[in-house]
Subunit: 456 residues, 2 copies
């Protein structure tokens, strides 16, 4: 049996399929699972043998939230303050929060046991926009197989670099830790300065970026790539995500190379052009939700920091280990603007038109995302005295579950940290999940008369 996978995933994750009609509310289920996971995680991290010195409940809860939402903002140093047990708890939370959300769509579908049906019309129009899957169970299994395979490859490759340097035990552990943290776009590190020690190490820099870019492309993209193996046979969605990812990564690398070239605290400290290029690539691709760093984020120029605000807000692909408003929403906003300016009401990408529902969804995602960031920045600018750029950076980093920080996380106070925890959670569940949770859904069939409405 063939199912229309995109339809399945998007229906499920937006809570608009038959599950919703059957009285089950996927967005709420998702929110509740995350809250339960955070509570269990905080309890485990509060255990005496989880940390070297006792941590407060607030520190445990913040760390658990940061891990489950794969953000990587920290108030307690992961490598030195958590024991091996504590670190394994964090890794487990990361794997469940990153991989877990990616499979949530399919797992919900399975749990609900609903019938998968073909959307005849769509299939007729675009027959190749499908993935051969036996059942929803098959989809769930294939996500797990794909993710675990990618992670296994990551561990092997990173071991090649870490083991010679640190010996078998520590080398393998670092390879495991950084693979899980990278593939899930978590950005947790074992060293307080993240991966700065490897700023000029092409092997580690490129392996880590490959892992988190793969995780951030998401399941749909990876399955299609493995299945189809030819550009012309890919769906428009997958082509757009790949092209936009490439464009964003190249632009970001170029911008950081330009803006930081002479900064003695960042690229200026590196001798060769190739080292600078490697470091610019690493720091250019990491803001779209991975959150590792190979130089001090607090030392970046204001220009680079502002540019990173945009990258962090955009994030990665839907149904992936990345967050933000997602590349898809960003691309659709641009496409819709271009369509309007050209006098066409048909929003299209690569010669395929988008439904008005898709455009509205991108609009809603971006609007709620902006609103969340604005309210959080406003609240923090009232609560704390910090520099405005540092506050804005912290909030957008939390929203995109990026985890880069200009050094303010520890200075926010309890109230400020609660705000950041809420933003991380909203960022990871997606702006629409917040919206669905707050909105009473009513399928009204009333059609109102059209009115004219001058704009802008």
């Amino acid at each position: 049996m063939k199912i229309h996978f995109l339809d399945l995933v998007s229906d499920r994750t937006t809570g608009k399929g038959s599950g919703r009609k059957a009285g089950i509310n996927p967005p709420r289920l998702l929110l509740e699972s995350f809250l339960v996971l955070i509570a269990i995680g905080a309890g485990l991290l509060k255990l005496p043998f989880a940390t070297v010195e006792p941590v407060t409940w607030m520190e445990a809860a913040f760390t658990a939230t940061s891990a489950v939402t794969v953000t990587g903002l920290i108030v307690v140093d992961t490598g030195s303050q958590f024991t091996l047990f504590g670190q394994l708890v964090i890794l487990t939370l990361i794997q469940l929060g990153g991989l877990g959300l990616m499979t949530f769509a399919v797992l919900t579908a399975l749990a609900l046991g609903f019938k998968l049906r073909l959307k005849q019309q769509l299939v007729a129009q675009e027959a190749f926009n499908e993935i051969s899957l036996q059942t929803a169970g098959g989809a769930g299994k294939s996500i797990a197989v794909f993710a675990l395979t990618a992670e296994a490859i990551g561990i092997v490759v990173l071991s090649l670099f870490f083991v010679p340097e640190l010996g078998w035990k520590d080398g393998l552990y670092e390879a495991l830790f950084y693979t899980i943290s990278a593939f899930n776009n978590a950005g947790f590190a074992l060293s307080p300065d993240s991966l700065s020690a490897y700023v000029d190490h092409p092997g580690i820099s490129l392996s880590v970026t490959a892992l988190f870019i793969t995780g951030g492309l998401g399941y749909i993209v990876m399955m299609e790539l493995l299945d189809r193996r030819s550009w012309s046979r890919l769906s428009v969605y997958v082509k757009v995500i790949l092209l936009a990812t490439l464009l964003l990564n190249v632009t970001a690398t170029g911008a950081i190379l330009l803006l930081e070239f002479g900064n003695p605290a960042t690229l200026g400290a590196l001798d060769s052009f190739w080292d600078k290029l490697l470091a610019a690539w690493f720091q250019g691709v990491t803001p779209r939700t991975a959150g590792f760093n190979t130089f001090d984020i607090g030392a970046l120029t204001a220009g680079t920091s502002v540019f990173m605000l945009l990258l962090m807000f955009i994030g990665g692909a839907p149904n992936s280990t990345a967050s933000g408003i997602k590349i898809s929403s960003f691309v659709i906003l641009i496409a819709a603007t271009r369509s309007f300016l050209r006098g066409s009401h048909d929003v299209s990408l690569l010669r395929r038109s988008l439904s008005s529902e898709t455009v509205l969804k991108a609009l809603a995602t971006a609007t709620i995302g902006m609103a969340v960031v604005f309210v959080a920045v406003l609240t923090l600018s009232i609560l704390v005295e910090d520099d405005f750029l540092d506050i804005a950076f912290e909030v957008v980093s939390a929203f995109g579950t990026v985890g880069l920080s200009r050094g303010t996380t520890g200075e926010l106070g309890t109230a400020g940290q609660l705000v950041i925890m809420a933003v991380m959670l909203i960022g990871r569940l997606g702006p629409l999940t917040l919206g669905y949770t707050l909105t009473a859904r009513r399928k009204s069939h009333v059609r109102y008369a059209r009115t004219e409405f001058p704009v802008g």
Copy 2:
């Protein structure tokens, strides 16, 4: 003959009517008129007898741009550095830039001499969404009559307060100056601390706010109010603009009262609650593009400044003396988000549905607006060393043609000031005008096949 006024105005200002087809490009015409006006204005302000001491070409050009775009950001103090001649040049530029843009729609229509036609369909649906006008000439004339009447009333009322204090000559002149500056939402003042001397003067504070709120509601709203005189007979558009204006003004007043109550540099310096309320009202309504201030903007708390960023970005109503993305775009983004979350693809306001073109237009306006603000903030944060909040405030103030400043305008350097000049111009002409100028318009009738596209 009856015409559908909203249709006329929105068709004209978006450049999508028959004029465009006839080879005339209203957005470009608008841009060129503004550039010519700025050049003439700069030339006049550079004349030796326009200023007390010679100004540079850059200062003259910045002042002319600020006046024509009714922004009010200044690099040379208006009251002490410009002679009466110079001030009259500024007033003329304000009147042409504020009132001029408001009448531009109708004047273009007249110049093109096109036939006004009823849109039968719309008229049938919503027969009362029209204004009785004999011709486009009648509309142009009625804008002028309305604006000049409002300004005449303003001068009389403000004279009642200024003449007893300053004598006939100076009193009348101040009444004239502040009326034109307020009605056109220009925010230019004769004193370096704007209207701070009148922070506890209800007569002047309330008259000035009444003038700029009227100007910012725009012609369509005022004409309907004068014509219909009953809430139930107003169009949905006018009701929405009035309700949103009220809600934004009340919210802003409350927020400023709360956030500044204890600030000794602002509300804390005032003794009575009523004085504080008056000052909070004044400073709450002025960021949506008027730009006057009755206390020091640089002394506001960070929270108030961040809140004002939102107000300045939103601005006033379309076809008014205000700028920003406009209240209409802001309201539509919220309505579209709400519709999507409720599972309806029909975006509605007050039980009337909006066309998908209207929704796309709001999306395009907001997207281009955000892009302009982002690029300008990024550029300035690379060019100048200033505090990030001050830079962001300056850029959003220029985009909304507000003119409030935390004191950075003079410190931006030539390159920075050129950026601000460009942003003022884009803000006043509207984000879509920039978009139209940059986009090749092609009415393609190709319909692409629909594609599924996961979002958010």
